[in-house]
């Protein structure tokens, strides 16, 4: 079995299994805790509270304007990274091919040069985020091994993707295998660390929006 066939076969199956089982385990451990029913008379009816939850999922994507001067730099950097990653993920031709194979849908791809540039910007933003984490007193205090593991785990697919586009340091097959393996590492780590925010962000924001709407409090 070649490295590529291992990456595409058993490694992918194992990573998928761990991803799904891990996410299920983590979410179910939250959901199945004993829940206390809220009895305080709500300011808004159930439907409005649900709507508030949905709105909060969107509105918390940007801090209120009053906070911008103090957090704008970090938020902007995080946006550059997330948008860059999204563009590469859904605009790169090989990714669209895989999506087509799995889900049967496809769309026009972006030119390879654009993807390479965006990948570079994404990687640069990741490095800046790390520098910020290492130098900002608050971030240094808050950071745990999870933060650095997650950073590395996210960096690897971006880095191997850039290398793959150039095919310079190794053969296409080897680089592709490494790229796939790096994604699998991300899939395996995701349920256990902060990368789980891909799912928790919806639950947590939605819960706040729903609960705060009960009080008529600011979301």
């Amino acid at each position: 079995m070649t490295l590529l066939s291992f990456a595409r076969g058993p490694a992918m199956q194992a990573a998928t299994l761990i991803l799904i089982a891990g996410m299920f385990w983590r979410l179910s451990a939250i959901v199945f805790l004993r829940r206390r029913v809220a009895h305080a008379a709500a300011r808004h009816p159930f439907g409005a509270r649900l709507l508030s939850g949905a709105v909060t999922i969107m509105s918390r994507s940007l801090p209120r304007r009053t906070f911008w001067p103090r957090v704008g730099e970090g938020v902007a950097l995080a946006y550059v990274f997330h948008i860059g990653l999204l563009i590469v993920l859904i605009g790169g031709a090989p990714h669209i091919l895989i999506i087509h194979e799995v889900f049967g849908v496809a769309w026009p791809d972006l030119p390879k040069g654009v993807i390479v540039v965006v990948s570079g910007v994404t990687m640069a933003s990741l490095i800046l985020l790390l520098v910020r984490r290492l130098t900002h007193p608050v971030l240094r205090l808050l950071s745990k091994p999870d933060d650095y593991i997650s950073w590395t785990i996210v960096l690897l697919p971006v880095a191997t993707g850039i290398l793959l586009s150039g095919e310079t340091v190794a053969s296409y097959g080897t680089l592709l295998a490494l790229h796939i393996l790096s994604i699998e590492a991300l899939m395996i780590w995701l349920p256990f660390g902060k990368l789980m925010h891909v799912a928790l962000v919806f639950a947590s924001r939605g819960m706040m929006g729903y609960n705060f709407s009960r009080k008529g409090a600011a979301t």
Binding site: I30, H39, A40, L200, A218
Partner: protein, 431 residues
């Protein structure tokens, strides 16, 4: 002589009870709290919303860091990967040292004002997590002794933070009624409206009780103070004493229920409103038999319905939102309705309403003696904003805020007057 004995209190103070802290931390963890504890991405934005970090640049004051012991306990004892945390030593067990180190973070430097909750991109209600953390700290014996812990203990034992008895309160009400020429209704058998008071009002602002009486007499519905349940302060909530919190609330609920109240009115006090309006029914596990309004809401409602009429006054003023009433309590609009009816030229503060800055004394911080430098640092933000508003008087609807602003102003040599919105209304009732 170098061998001076340490103070007696230090020598006899029992060490924090780790077991009680542990049980206190995990007792109330349900899906909402667990979701919050699982969701932090360590972005640090909450620090930038906190007056204590903004004013000191000390990273220890980062709000989510303040609940680190609570989070570690959750991860170690009941999180989905607790076995892994224990195996890898990633969530250390509680120790006397860590609990003691965190005391000033959980109490002195948190007003539970919820500004951090407003900025969190993950939607974590950090202020609520601090309240949960205080439960464990209180159980462990770590509420700051002077004066928060001591006052909470007295409140739990007597029903009033200052040990005010029913008879003393009754006498006080009649004295206030005589002094202000207002009819007091006390311990009536039947009443639609039952107002409560804050112990700060009793101690420092007795005129506010005359103001309540004037307003309720003007509205004209049957009302009464109840001397068997009147002091809504609930210092126990801010100290983290759940049993005391419930006991105080139960006393007031019983008194209001006894006279068939339809509306229980909370005084000009932020945390008492939080407790009675949003937490009491959940604590008892059933709906309250009456509605709960903060006095500002009642006045705004009466003005809107036409049962309360006020004179127009020519005054320029600004308003300080109490965090528990506005951002955390959903009563942001009520004071604006009142100012509008009074015709006050309201110069709103920067960040007024939901994004307001705390006065610095909320969450029991006003009752922690050693926290005064921090309070004053927080007050400096408010002072600057109020001065920028150009108003010579700042009104508020919370006696705790009022007192903190007065104390902060005194320390800063400030000339701005701090007033009660309730008293402003009472002084300007239309004939």
């Amino acid at each position: 002589m170098n061998d001076i004995a340490p103070p007696l209190l230090k020598a006899v103070a029992p060490p924090p009870d780790i077991g009680k802290a542990l049980r206190g931390f995990v007792a109330d963890i349900g899906p909402t709290v667990a979701l919050s504890l699982e969701s932090c991405i360590h972005c640090g934005q909450c620090a930038e919303a906190c007056q204590f970090y903004v004013q000191t640049s000390d990273p220890r004051y980062t709000p989510i860091h303040k609940i680190e012991l609570f989070k570690q306990t959750y991860n170690r004892e009941m999180g989905p990967f607790s076995f892994g945390y224990k195996l890898l030593g990633m969530a250390p067990a509680l120790t006397v040292e860590t609990l003691t180190q965190w005391q000033d973070l959980v109490y002195d430097s948190c007003n539970m004002c919820g500004r951090c909750s407003l900025i969190c991109p993950m939607g974590i209600d950090i202020a609520d997590l601090v309240e949960q953390t205080r439960h464990g700290m209180y159980d462990a014996g770590l509420a700051p002794a002077d004066f928060l812990g001591a006052i909470a203990e007295k409140e739990h034992a007597t029903g009033s933070p200052f040990g005010l008895t029913s008879q003393t309160f009754r006498d006080l009400l009649y004295d206030i009624g005589t002094k202000h020429g207002v009819t007091m209704h006390v311990d009536e058998q039947k009443a639609e409206i039952v107002p409560t008071v804050s112990s700060i009002d009793v101690k420092t602002y007795p005129g506010s009780m005359a103001a309540i009486a004037k307003i309720l007499n003007h509205i004209g519905l049957p009302w009464t103070f109840r001397t068997d349940g009147f002091d809504a302060d609930n210092v126990s909530l801010t100290a983290g004493d759940r049993a005391g919190q419930a006991a105080i609330t139960q006393g007031i609920v019983n008194a209001a229920r006894a006279c068939g109240a339809k509306t229980l009115v909370m005084p000009e006090c932020g945390h008492s409103f939080t407790e009675m309006r949003w937490e009491a029914a959940n604590t008892f596990g059933k709906d309250l038999p009456f509605r709960v309004l903060q006095i500002t809401e009642l006045v705004a409602e009466a003005i809107t319905s036409g049962t309360l009429r006020v004179n127009k006054i020519k005054q320029t003023a600004t308003y300080h939102d109490a965090c528990q009433l506005s951002r955390r309590g959903g009563a942001t609009a009520a004071p604006r309705v009142i100012f509008s009816a009074l015709g006050v030229d309201l110069h709103e503060l920067e960040d007024a309403g939901d994004a307001n800055w705390c006065c610095g004394g909320g969450g029991g911080v006003a009752l922690i003696k050693r926290a005064q430098p921090l309070r004053n640092a927080a007050f400096a933000i408010k002072q600057k904003q109020i001065e920028q508003s150009g108003a010579a008087i700042v009104y508020t609807s919370c006696s705790g805020c009022r007192q903190t602003l007065e104390h902060g102003g005194k320390a800063a040599g400030w000339s701005t007057t701090v007033g009660s919105l309730l008293e402003l209304v009472a002084d300007n009732l239309a004939p």
